[in-house]
Amino acid sequence: MIGANGRGGPREKMKVEDMNVFYGSFQAIKDANLNVAEHRVTALIGPSGCGKSTFIRALNRMHDLTPGARVEGRVMLDGENIYAPSVDPVTVRHRIGMVFQRANPFPKSIFENVVYGPKIHGLRSHKALVEVAEKSLRAAALWDEVKDRLNRSALDLSGGQQQRLCIARVLAVEPEVILMDEPASALDPIATSKIEDLIGELKRRYTVVIVTHSMQQAARISDSTVFFLLGELIEVGTTSEIFTRPKDKRTEDYITGRYG
């Protein structure tokens, strides 16, 4: 399986070309290029502050909301640049959903959290909303734990359940790509392994890009791995290549634990 290199194998879902990201005058990402294969899990690894979170947030135009942030270059989704002037960022985020580092459920009921997306996109029928809620919660492996208390506050759930609820909330709008920014970093090992199992399931239907600070996690769940250092995209390869035969000395140093 050759994913990231594009030689045969899966279709290319997203393509990043010459991306530069600035916060004011500080350049956080330098000339990054990347192909993201469809129905694969792509992991972004690197030490803290290397720009991996900045990079992933540029993939669905979340930086539009950050004052002073500027993205240059192209991010193609199915061959169309999502930064083109004619493209509505709201539509982009509908197609490319995002799960964040800390679970951020709305202070509403579990049900209202899941159906928020479908509702704002115009789905009105209660029956249809109920169906979407069940489908999304099942896909996020949360249904059995919450089916009897859908009207309870989402804030009463445990951290791991909240994060799976946030995943269900994203799934409910049926995106094509799901971006995850260290989704398990605030969770205990059991909740983490549930999220990891879930990601393995999700790639059948979605394309997943995940930032993780844990190399073990990247090795367990991803098909290809991208290594960032100081804002530069150092190396891309299949996960097994990166972890067994890295081409770049800096990747090898990081993998073998010689960087923080």
């Binding site: 979340m62 709201v90 539509t91 959903g97 964040f100 951020n104 459920p105 704002i120 909330r169 709008v173």
Partner: protein
């Protein structure tokens, strides 16, 4: 030795802070107690509902209570939508730039204008230039200008208390800015928002200086005192309290004053209690259910 001193300092600090807190509570209790002692006997059904009197003893404050609520509601009708909109704009929409700074600076400057100056402004603009005369409408609009900055600030702070991660979550499923504000940010801030509005209602209810030259110091006689028209003189309870003590000719001015003060204080206290209870209840309601 040092241990003992540290422990003493710690205990002393706790005690001093506790004492200061107690002082605040005691001041309030003393004030309320004193006013109940003085004004309690003045309060009667007749006092609360009866007509006020210019010359004779035995007047009530019925029209003044009515006018206080009338002007309060009219003021809120103007103030709440404008300051909500301004607060939402400043907090959620305005990028940091000269326009945002200009609006912010204007609001803060406006907030420092003394209420008597605002009253004279209302006299010039509403009462004289627009020829509305001393009227509930002139009073309400003056109070609107007076309270816009505070309520805008309340809105901003209430919105700022909503974590940015919730906005991101809404955006990340394809929500627009407006949907995010309307469905996530506003409902999540409904508690502090309500508390702020009710607290400011208390201030509006007790406002005096800005109303003397705008809503006036008189009420019509008989049933006309309870007219619904906004273009009639509308002395409020707080203004009545000031007026009876400084201008009126009635012999029982002390009784009327004490009674009015007690009613006014009770109303404002009720506003404060309601602010807390309603704010908390709304927050609970929103977070529990849809």
């Amino acid at each position: 030795m040092i241990q003992a001193r540290r422990r003493f300092t710690d205990a002393f600090a706790s005690g001093a802070l506790w004492g200061a807190a107690c002082f605040v509570v005691l001041m309030l209790a003393a004030l309320v107690g004193y006013l109940i002692y003085l004004g309690g006997s003045a309060i009667s059904w007749h006092f609360l509902t009866g007509m006020s009197s210019e010359m004779n003893a035995g007047g009530g404050v019925g029209p003044q209570i009515y006018n206080s609520f009338y002007i309060l509601i009219l003021t809120l009708v103007f103030t709440v939508p404008v300051s909500l909109a301004a607060g939402i704009y400043l907090q959620e929409y305005a990028a940091t730039g000269w326009f945002r700074s200009a609006v912010q600076f204007s609001a803060e400057s406006l907030a420092t204008v003394p209420s008597i100056v605002m009253g004279l402004f209302g006299l010039l603009v509403f009462v004289q230039t627009l020829r509305w005369g001393f009227s509930a409408l002139a009073g309400a609009l003056t109070l609107t200008v007076l309270n816009l900055p505070a309520l805008t600030r309340v809105t901003q702070e209430a919105l700022a208390s909503v974590p940015g991660t919730l906005r991101e979550a809404s955006m990340a499923v394809g929500g627009t800015k407006w949907q995010t504000v309307l469905r996530i940010v506003l409902p999540s801030s409904i508690g502090p928002l309500t508390t702020g509005i009710v607290l400011i209602s208390g201030r509006i209810f007790g406002e005096t200086a800005a109303l003397i030259y705008t809503a006036g110091t008189s009420v019509a006689h008989g049933r006309a005192a309870y007219d619904l028209s906004p273009l009639r003189p509308a002395e409020t309870l707080a203004v009545h309290l000031w007026y009876t003590h400084s201008e009126a000719l009635i012999p029982d001015v002390t009784r009327i004053g004490n009674g009015s003060a007690l009613v006014l204080l009770m109303m404002v206290l009720i506003f404060n209690v309601v602010a807390r209870v309603v704010g908390r209840a709304l927050t609970m309601h929103i977070t529990r259910k849809a």
